[in-house]
Symmetry: C2
Subunit: 287 residues, 2 copies
């Protein structure tokens, strides 16, 4: 199979967040010929929204997504309202940055303000996610900002996201936007969904409804030594990336390929110029 | 909801394997009024199959499963044949022990003899699993030993089991035994499947076909610090165990509740009599 167009490479700013601030990441992308970026809200806040937007615009970078909104479930009504308010601000920030979408990590079991899980009701948490999405969607549609539900790996179901399969994300889209995309879609991150026997079907279904808003790549390492921060560089793990890309392309996805690697012990310790150069090479040769 | 019948408690011998040999575990079960056990093959081999069978029989324990067969995918035909031969021996050992089923952890991506993953073809691995199951099933049916496919958590898809949902396990049963159980079913382990939005439906479907062969309990801790050996005691994590038990019972499951906890830093370091007493208490009060 032919390699991907190198111009489609985007860098999620978490990939070098341990080494560089957002301005340096933006400069790094320019230096390495990388044409897309996905910043995190804390990185944007650190330099101010206006400055971040200007720097990204001046560098000519496509913002493949803003990370992140979501975290809808909460212990009480006040907590859910606070989450919704914060999500509305995230939508507005995504608009200011000209992002292609706001990425949503929907949240897990309800937590109190201190961050402690207060319920084991996973079905109820999923209802809170649906309701929160529905409320946020009105604001996002008004602002013209697409919302991308990112199914997270099932190992994050309790504490980060209780939407863990593309089938579930697709079902939420169908329920909330029965007539098609309407500004609600999905972010397909291979790290979270590569294992799913229904992945090809889920990608095809999302594509048919114009709901493929983002595509994130990295690799699953064997062994994986940490649940959060031991993601691999493309080619270093077991994910059949060319095959998944082929499914994405067959489903009509023409967007960028965003490299998002959380890697405490390896890539966050390396020279970030080496990290970006490696991303370029592995994107071209192993994705 | 009413608590479970204490007489239904079974102990998977891995739960205290760091502290005790199989004879001591058997004695411990008797001492704590625990009426079921699920030994591992290496524990049985350490004292000899005949001796293990006699001790378990003399103690009046129900063997809720033998752990384990499976690991079907391999790099080459010789490797797959060796796996099948070993699986046939596992069936025979399960018969000698009078086990209710042989638990199958089906294997992940194909490995060579040194244990190195040699392929990223997950779809191909799943075909090897189906084929291996089909071959083993003939021997198991002849021996009268039920085979229980245990879907493992998706975080083990690469290296331990590429069957990661109850839906997939049910589909394999349907394909290989279209007329009903016929000696092929599933082991439902809450640790692996608690997150699945299709879990209730999968349990109901398996129950309707008389395929619920085993039920394993423990808990999912937040945070989980190790992918393998950081399982929690019932009540210490986020799994809604009474609700899942209710689904099992509604689906017709009347078998035992097998506690299987891999816990390097906590339960494998405690006095095993305390572990068993805690299992009893938490089974009664939190499961």
């Amino acid at each position: 199979m032919a390699g991907p167009d190198p111009a489609l490479l985007s860098i999620n700013a978490a990939t070098v967040r341990a080494q560089w601030t957002l301005p340096r990441i933006i400069d790094g992308c320019a230096r390495h010929g990388i044409r897309g970026i996905a910043p995190w809200r804390d990185q944007v806040a650190a330099i101010g929204l206006g400055d971040a937007a200007k720097r990204i615009r001046d560098a000519g970078l496509t913002v493949t997504g803003l990370c992140r909104g979501g975290m809808f479930p909460a212990a009480d009504r006040a907590g859910r309202r606070a989450a919704l308010d914060d999500n509305r601000r995230a939508v507005d920030e995504a608009c200011a940055l000209g992002a292609r979408c706001l990425v949503l990590v929907v949240g897990g079991l309800p937590k109190d303000r201190a961050g402690t899980i207060v319920s084991r009701d996973l079905i109820g948490a999923r209802e809170m996610v649906r309701d929160g999405l529905g409320e946020l969607l009105e604001h996002a549609q008004g602002a013209g900002m697409p919302l991308a539900i990112e199914p997270l790996h099932p190992m994050y179901a309790a504490d980060r996201a209780c939407v863990n399969t593309l089938a579930h994300a697709n079902a939420l889209c169908d329920e909330l936007c029965p007539k098609g995309s309407d500004g609600l879609g999905v972010a397909v991150d291979v790290y979270h969904v590569w294992w799913d026997p229904e992945l090809a079907a889920g990608i095809a279904r999302a594509g048919a409804a114009d709901r493929l808003f983002a595509y994130h790549i990295c690799d699953w390492l064997v062994p994986t030594t940490d649940l959060l921060n031991d993601r691999g560089m493309m080619g270093d793990g077991v994910v059949d990336l060319p095959r998944i890309r082929e499914w994405m392309e067959a489903a009509g996805y023409r967007g960028m390929h965003e490299v998002e690697i959380f890697s405490q012990e390896t890539w966050w310790k390396r020279d970030p110029d080496v990290v970006l150069a490696t991303c370029r090479q592995r994107h071209a040769e192993r994705s």
